[in-house]
Structure formats: structure tokens, C-alpha cells
């Protein structure tokens, strides 16, 4: 039998249906994947420098600072200064990677991100850990459930939210080569290793990681793993879901969305981010103007979350694979009703 999966690690594919998948699978926080990749891009590009705001221990950018003390700049707990200084550095030809927590980079320093970085379109790379509700225990003040939506609304922004270790490292390399500001969303808590090194990472291109024709699940960051598990379970019920890893929320891969709409007739989006303005909104905005097929969105509803173990928190707030499966069932029902209505209309 030919596997419907692409680029998935064999040891992951074989256990997707295990009930304790999220407990037992090997995981890695992508904030560490980021700082590990910094060593590689720094070797390749002498213009790369690393800025942080007293989060060296948390992101392990302090390891980078040990090896490259002259290429590391710790601004203390001062995100606004770091962000505008990163803009100033970029005007001199450097490629600053401004590292910190998503809450404070996207919200406290938002004015700097907009006016000093994006308005002049300077080559600043923003590396934001604790994105979405990926810090479970830290609680609401550190759960940046709005960051992707906020940055997405800024003109000329590029927003990347990779799903795992391998693709985060690929994203860091791609960002260093990309000319312009990029916001990289990273997880505080560990997320499953998913992909092989064959994964074809390209900014702005979704990757089909599972074939399917009944519906499409478009997910990003930590919910890609949940989309894959949901798809595996749905397959047992005779439902074949296509899974698209939408690591770049902006610019959105419109071609991939419209192709999925055409070929599968309904879409579920899944994001660990508020349902306002993020991945689900981006997909809905595109569909409503082009091909308004039935769609359901998984995301944080109009609420703040709370402290707790990461998995338990995102489960309570409706983001885990069982919720994606329910959304899939609902969107399929709507698709069938929609198709029946269309058939009646034609008859």
C-alpha cells in the first residue's frame, strides 16, 4: 500500500494512531531548534548577529553568545529598544535576529515592529518564542495567542510558524536569505519531531504532508501534528483528509488553498491562535472572494486561557486532534448538504 503521507518520519507515521502518541513521541521545543540553527546561519553569513532581551537562557541564545560574544547583544528587559535598535543595525547592512517572547515582541514592541521595522521594510528577523498558547504553565500573560494575527495585519510582513524541529531550522536558513522583515513563531513547550530532511521548505509555499480528497485540513505550528493524528483517525472511519502544513501564514499560498477547495470541497483550519485574524481568517478571506465552500475553524475562541500543562490547556481550549475531528465531521456534513442543494438546484 502506498502511504498517503509525505516527508513524515517513518517512526512517526507508524505510531500516529497510538492513543499515547503525544505522550510518547519524541519532542523538541522549537525555540531550541531556532538557537541551534543560528550557529549554522552565522557560519554561512557573517552579517548575522543575534539580539536578545534577557532570554538567553530560555532560548539558549546564551550558547550562541558564548561562541560568538562579539555577535551577541543582550538588551536586558527592553524589547522596544531592542526592536528599534535592530532596525538601526539593519540599515548598516547587518542581519539582526531579534529574539524574545512573542507576547512582548509582538505587543509591547508592536509600535517599533510596525514603524521602525516594517514601514521602512528593514531586514530584521524577529524570533518569537512562547508563541500562541505554547507556554502552558506560564499562564495568560505569557500566552501570545494573538501574535500571528497582529503581525499579519502589518503591510509587507512575512509570518512563519513552523511545525517541528527540522522545519524550524529550515525556516531560520530561509529567513536569513530573505530580504525584509520576517516574524518567526516558536514554541515554548516541546512539540513532536515530524519530518525528514527531504521536506521542501520554501517561504510562502504550503506543503502537502498527507494526501486526501474528502476534505482538507490546513494547520500550522503545533497543530500540524494534531491535524496529522486527526487525519489518521478519520482514515479509520473511511474519511481521507488532505493535510497542508501552512508554515507561512503570510504571504498565504493562495494557489494551494484554492486547489484544495476545488479538489476536496471543504476545509478545516487549525491554529493555536485566536480565531480572529490568523490562519483561519486568511483562508476564509481568500475563499469568500473566490470559492466560498464550507469551512470550519479551530482556534482560540473569544477567551483567555489559563495555566496548566501545555497539552491539557490546549485540549481544554479546543485545539487538540479530537476537536479537529469534530470540525472535520461538521464540515463534511455541510459539504454534503451543500452538494445536495446544488444537485437539486440543477435538477
Amino acid at each position: 500500500m502506498i502511504s498517503p503521507y509525505h516527508f513524515l518520519l517513518p517512526e512517526v507515521e507508524s505510531v500516529l494512531l497510538n492513543s499515547d502518541f503525544f505522550k510518547t513521541t519524541k519532542k523538541h521545543a522549537t525555540r531550541y531548534s531556532y538557537s541551534e540553527a543560528l550557529f549554522e546561519v552565522a557560519e554561512i553569513n557573517p552579517k548575522v548577529v543575534v539580539l536578545d532581551v534577557d532570554v538567553g537562557k530560555s532560548l539558549k541564545t546564551n550558547e550562541f553568545a558564548k561562541k560568538y560574544p562579539h555577535r551577541s547583544f543582550n538588551f536586558g528587559i527592553a524589547e522596544q529598544n531592542m526592536m528599534a535598535a535592530a532596525a538601526g543595525m539593519a540599515t548598516t547592512g547587518l542581519i539582526p535576529f531579534a529574539s524574545g517572547y512573542a507576547m512582548f515582541l509582538s505587543m509591547r514592541a508592536l509600535d517599533q515592529v510596525r514603524n521602525s521595522v516594517h514601514y521602512p521594510h528593514l531586514n530584521v528577523k524577529i524570533a518569537a518564542s512562547h508563541s500562541g498558547i505554547t507556554p502552558g504553565p506560564d499562564g495568560v500573560t505569557h500566552q501570545a495567542q494573538e501574535d500571528l494575527s497582529i503581525i499579519r495585519t502589518i503591510a509587507g510582513s512575512c509570518v512563519i510558524a513552523p511545525a517541528d524541529h527540522v522545519t524550524t531550522k529550515m525556516a531560520v536558513h530561509a529567513m536569513a536569505e530573505y530580504d525584509g522583515p520576517v516574524y518567526l513563531s516558536l514554541t515554548r513547550d516541546p512539540v513532536p519531531y515530524l519530518y525528514t530532511s527531504d521536506y521542501p521548505f520554501e517561504i510562502g509555499r504550503m506543503v502537502t504532508v498527507r494526501e486526501g480528497s474528502d476534505l482538507t485540513i490546513i494547520a500550522n505550528r503545533d497543530l500540524v501534528a494534531h491535524a496529522l493524528v486527526a487525519a489518521a483517525q478519520l482514515s479509520g472511519q473511511g474519511i481521507e483528509a488532505r493535510v497542508l502544513d501552512c508554515h507561512t501564514i503570510k504571504p498565504l499560498d493562495e494557489e494551494a488553498v484554492l486547489k484544495a477547495a476545488r479538489e476536496t470541497g471543504c476545509i478545516v483550519t487549525a491554529e493555536n491562535n485566536v480565531i480572529f485574524g490568523g490562519l483561519g481568517s486568511a483562508v476564509a478571506e481568500l475563499l469568500v472572494e473566490n470559492d466560498p465552500i464550507p469551512m470550519q475553524r479551530i482556534g482560540v475562541r473569544d477567551t483567555f486561557a489559563e495555566s496548566g500543562p501545555y497539552y491539557e490547556v490546549i485540549d481544554k481550549y479546543g485545539l487538540t486532534f479530537p476537536h479537529i475531528m469534530q470540525a472535520a465531521q461538521k464540515v463534511l456534513d455541510r459539504k454534503h448538504a451543500f452538494n445536495n442543494q446544488m444537485a437539486k438546484g440543477e435538477a
Partner: protein, 282 residues
């Protein structure tokens, strides 16, 4: 000032003539736009005249020159003074001055580095230009370049917390390749600074943050030139020049009047203002 060769470093008497022309241009721009910020432009005029026509290492024919000195007007609403300096220095034709704040202009309401030749940093949101200056100074040092970064901030702007974040970081990294000039004109948008949010002991605050301070009369051209030249020679510590200035300097009815922070003169006021500014040379 048409007889001046501005490609050469100007003398103090010549700089005074340049400042008169810049003040006239500021008034012209704001009068034509019927909007803008005359008060804080006129208070910073002598400082920018000295920087652009004597102090800074620049080449108007090559505004992107990597080794040029950088200038940032962190109090970005005063950009008419910046535009006047750049036009008179030859970065672009003077005919642009009448287009300030109008559609399709290269002269935006707050300065845009991607639209205006010679503008080294986009500014307008207060408290950010000085931080960008820190980044430029670090970038220069990292790349072993010897250009100097000049930043003008306002006293009202010092109410922004990020100014003090920048102050701490410049001291931490001993940024002697950056000089901040404080245009201390004592007025902000609503009212006098003292009534809005008092700054307390300004010199002592900067000293406490680890800065070398130089206090001058910001309208004494010789003192301005001397302070800028001295600042560039101080090593191992960032320097701030605290320039005591008059908001609306040169126009009697604008001087020290908070209402002229952000207001345009009518025709009669404009004519009087030009006469008074020209009179400064007599």
C-alpha cells in the same frame, strides 16, 4: 546663500546665513502645507545647520554611501528642519519643499527613509529614533566602520520610556560613536513640559545613566559647533549635548508659545515671520 559653496565646511557666520535660509524654508513648507510643526523645527535649526554644513561626513551625491555619518531626527515631527537642511545641502531640488505633506510628495508628514534622499531612518513615533541610533552605532562598531551617528531628541520625547532604555544600552556598550543632541525647548504638544510631565534634573538624569553631558545655548552657533566637535572626540562614554533652545526661535509670536507646536501660519503671519527671520542677519 546662493554664493556659498556648501560642499565645503562652512564658517560660523556662513552657518548663521544657512540657518536663516533654513528657517525661511521651514516657514514656507508649513505655510504651503497649512500643517506641520514649526516650533520644534525652528528650535533645532541651528543644530542641524551646524551638523549638515560643517560637522557631518556626508556626500549628497551619494546618500547611500556606506561610510557616511548618520543623522536621525528622533523628534520626527520636526522634519521640516531636516528637509530644509537636505534641500539646501543638495540632496534634492528645492522645488520639493512646497510639496510637504501633499499627495505623491517625497516629503512625508513624518520622515520616511525610503522616500526622502538623505533621511537615514524613518521616524515619527517618538522614542524610537534614539534606539535606532544605538543599533546604527553598534552596527558601525561591529563592521569596524568609523562613521558617527548623530541623533536629535526632544525634551517632551524624554517622557517615552524607550529613551531611557536606549540611554542604558548606549552606556552599557560605551557608544562613543554616537552623539545625542537634546533640543531642550521646554514645550510639548499640549503645554509646557513642566506642566505636562516635568523632567526634573535633566543633566543629572543623563549623568546618572552614565553619559557625558555638555550644556550649551542651542542658538549660539559657535557654541553649537564647538560642542559637536568636542562630542566627537570623547572616548569610552556616550555624549549628550543638552542644547538650551527656544521653541519657535526667530519668530516673535511663535517663540515660547505652546500653540505653535503644531500649527500653520496664515498669510499675514507668514509674511511677518519671514520678515523677522530675515531680520536676524541685519
Amino acid at each position: 546663500m546662493n554664493d556659498l559653496d556648501v560642499s565645503k565646511s562652512l564658517s560660523v557666520p556662513e552657518l548663521k546665513r544657512v540657518a536663516v535660509q533654513m528657517r525661511k524654508d521651514i516657514l514656507y513648507m508649513i505655510y504651503e502645507a497649512q500643517a506641520g510643526h514649526p516650533g520644534g523645527s525652528l528650535s533645532a535649526t541651528d543644530i542641524l545647520a551646524a551638523l549638515y554644513f560643517r560637522i557631518m561626513r556626508i556626500d549628497p551625491t551619494n546618500p547611500e554611501w556606506e561610510d557616511r555619518d548618520r543623522f536621525i531626527l528622533s523628534k520626527g515631527h520636526a522634519c521640516p528642519v531636516w528637509y530644509a537642511a537636505l534641500a539646501n545641502r543638495g540632496y534634492y531640488d528645492r522645488s520639493h519643499l512646497g510639496t510637504l505633506r501633499k499627495l505623491n510628495s517625497i516629503l512625508q508628514g513624518h520622515a520616511d527613509m525610503k522616500k526622502t534622499p538623505g533621511v537615514d531612518m524613518t521616524v515619527g513615533s517618538l522614542g524610537q529614533g534614539i534606539c535606532a541610533g544605538v543599533g546604527m552605532a553598534l552596527g558601525a562598531r561591529f563592521q569596524k566602520k568609523d562613521f558617527h551617528v548623530w541623533v536629535v531628541i526632544g525634551d517632551g520625547e524624554m517622557q517615552e520610556g524607550s529613551v531611557w532604555e536606549a540611554a542604558m544600552s548606549a552606556a552599557k556598550w560605551k557608544l562613543d560613536n554616537m552623539t545625542v543632541i537634546l533640543d531642550l525647548n521646554r514645550i510639548q504638544n499640549d503645554d509646557f513640559v513642566e506642566n505636562t510631565m516635568p523632567l526634573g534634573q535633566v543633566q543629572e538624569k543623563w549623568q546618572a545613566f552614565g553619559w557625558n553631558t555638555i550644556c550649551i545655548n542651542g542658538h549660539d552657533m559657535q557654541a553649537v559647533v564647538d560642542a559637536l566637535e568636542e562630542a566627537a572626540t570623547i572616548k569610552g562614554i556616550p555624549t549628550i549635548i543638552i542644547a538650551d533652545t527656544v521653541k519657535g526661535k526667530g519668530v516673535s509670536f511663535m517663540e515660547n508659545v505652546p500653540a505653535w507646536h503644531g500649527a500653520a501660519p496664515n498669510a499675514e503671519q507668514y509674511e511677518q515671520a519671514i520678515r523677522e527671520v530675515e531680520g536676524a542677519l541685519i
